[in-house]
Amino acid sequence: MRPVDAIPLDEIRSARKRIVGFAIRTPLVRLNVDNSPAEIYLKLENLQPIGSFKVRGAANAMRLCTVDELANGVYTASAGNMAQGVAFVARRLGVRCSAIVPDHAPETKLSAIQRLGAEVVRVPFDDWWSVIVTHRFEGLCGRFIHPVTDPAVIAGNGTIGLEILEDLPDVDAIVIPYGGGGLSCGIASAVRALKPDTKVYAAEIETAAPLAASLAAGEPREIQYTPSFVDGIGGKSVLAQMWPLVQDLVDGSLVVSLLQTAGAIRLLAARNHIIAEGAGATSVAAALAGLAGGKKIVSVVSGGNIDAATLCTILNEKMPKCVES
């Protein structure tokens, strides 16, 4: 499997035109907090139609397909935000859609995907991981949209970088939740092309921080993974295909605790009046902890798909129990 290349600026600019009508141009607002180590701004991707940035990449990938390519439908491997993103765009385009999910994915996530008109295909976790690694699934025909490595998906993600630089031209650092690396590499590609002195940091959760381990070791490392309420990011390892690009584009990984992340979720709800999921709040937690420095920081709030019970636990200043993800 070839490593993923850097995304040219032209492709990100073209993606921007393609995703109009599917994704919205989200606002950039100041984090409303007293005693902050830096001037922190929020890029509110949780306000997208399906509650996360994934709609951008899904829309760009599908709008690039020909009618013939879409005739057999599309499918992706995801129980979460990517499945919703692809399903949302597919329904708009009148295209059949399937989501391959690991068999222990929670019912609430699956019913959300089904309500968007997609079919859910449950497989054992190892088979699901194999789809992520090989980009192939025997049981379905149609166009496979990889949730992370598809260059069109990464270019769609990169449109966020264009918007950030327009709204805050003198941004010093951008902090981006790191799951597979598609969001970080997309934004970093735009920033490298337009304003290379801006730092791009990944944010990871302490219970599953493979990028931090890999950057420290200088090569992809597998780590001991612990499930938590932060279920949108945090895998066992960095995808080998993504490693050269990530290593080149990302200036470091900022690792935050579950406690810090829960605190950020509460702050965002109480002071900025928006709902962030665990993954989406890690970037804010990192900036608040001073890990991204003391100047102008943009934290990407990547999504808001947190279930009501977990959200209420956190807002009531308790920690959610460890959940299987």
Binding site: P27, V29, R30, P49, A270, I274, A308, L311, N316
Partner: protein, 321 residues
């Protein structure tokens, strides 16, 4: 009785210049639905620095004062959002800001006033309305910013109308919550001036229907007020505001408390926006109206300052959606 002249587009445009680096130009966001479209767009004023649209009117009014008026210090009467805005604006101009607030004001709003450097003066609710009725501010040395009859406040709120028409020229109906009437007076005036065919819908809680009752009676009327929408809990429409609002509102609708709670839940779970009760009113009213009665609709989500305990109670009670 002084007749209040409608804010003009020119006045709102001047205000927009004053507000340029202060106000977030909140983008219109579709109300998200799994099963198709409702043709409802939200204007999320929760993104403003004090969590509500009040910053528009309050900043404009304070900016329009002479320096020596401002130096006396600022004062207002408020359930919470105007007080927060005044505190923030006072800090911006380096002058003290005080606000008479009902003791029942949400703790989060009172804390926020203090956090911005303002001085909350908590009094019983009857005292709040006595102060307003008797114009008690005239005996005080401060620059008093009336929360709704101040014309510069209305003009500041009217800047929202410029944004709505620019972002959605095809808008048919705009749903606007009504407390004292300052928002609908400013925003409604701007909307009608820019697009006379637009329908302006006044929305109130069923449990505080002061404008609705006034319109039914043909004159300003006082009502009982007991609602979770603390931001609009004004039990009367004043003599000078009534003709202004009556002339602007194409319809007046009421929302029951459980529909408010349901709208708060929907805005949080689908749009990831935290709205307070009065902030969710417009959305609740639009959802209760068939789409072909309202066309392309904009709902103002006026504020997001709700105590976390109230929010979690609403989110926990809701059925899985």
């Amino acid at each position: 009785m002084t007749k209040i002249k409608r804010p003009t587009v020119a006045e709102c445009e001047s205000a927009a210049e004053r507000l340029r680096n202060i106000v977030v130009r909140s983008p219109l966001v579709p109300l998200h639905f799994y099963d198709g479209s409702t043709d409802i767009l939200l204007k999320p004023e929760i993104h403003q620095v004090v969590g509500s649209f009040k910053i528009r009117g309050v900043f404009n009014a304070v900016a329009c004062l002479h320096d020596d008026e401002r130096q006396n210090g600022l004062s207002t009467v408020s359930a919470g959002n105007t007080a927060q805005a005044l505190a923030w604006v006072g800090r911006h101009f380096g002058v003290p800001a005080r606000s008479i607030m009902p003791q029942s004001a949400p703790a989060s709003k009172v804390e926020a006033v203090r956090a911005y450097g303002g001085i909350p003066i908590l009094v019983p609710t009857e005292e709040v309305f006595r102060f307003l009725r008797e114009h008690a501010w005239e005996e005080e040395p401060y620059a008093f910013i009336h929360p709704w009859t101040n014309r510069d406040v209305m003009i500041g709120h009217g800047t929202m109308g410029l944004e709505i028409i620019a972002d959605c020229p095809e808008v048919d109906s705009v749903y606007i919550p009504v407390g004292g009437g300052g928002l609908i007076a400013g925003l409604g005036s701007a909307l009608k001036a820019l697009k006379p065919s637009i329908r302006v819908i006044a929305v109130e809680p069923q449990r505080c229907p002061s404008f609705y009752a006034s319109r039914a009676a043909g004159k300003p009327t006082t009502v009982e007020c007991n609602t979770i929408c603390d931001g609009v809990a004004v039990p009367y429409i004043t003599q000078e505001m009534y003709p202004l609002i009556d002339g602007l509102a194409d319809d007046a609708v009421l929302v029951p408390e459980d529909a408010v709670r349901s709208a708060i839940e929907r805005l949080a779970s689908r749009n990831k926006i935290v709205a307070e009760g009065s902030g969710a009113l417009a959305t609740a009213a639009a959802l209760a109206t068939p789409q072909d009665h309202r066309g392309r609709t904009v709902c103002i989500v006026t504020g997001g300052s709700i105590d976390m305990e109230k929010l979690t109670a609403i989110l926990s009670d809701a059925p899985l959606s």
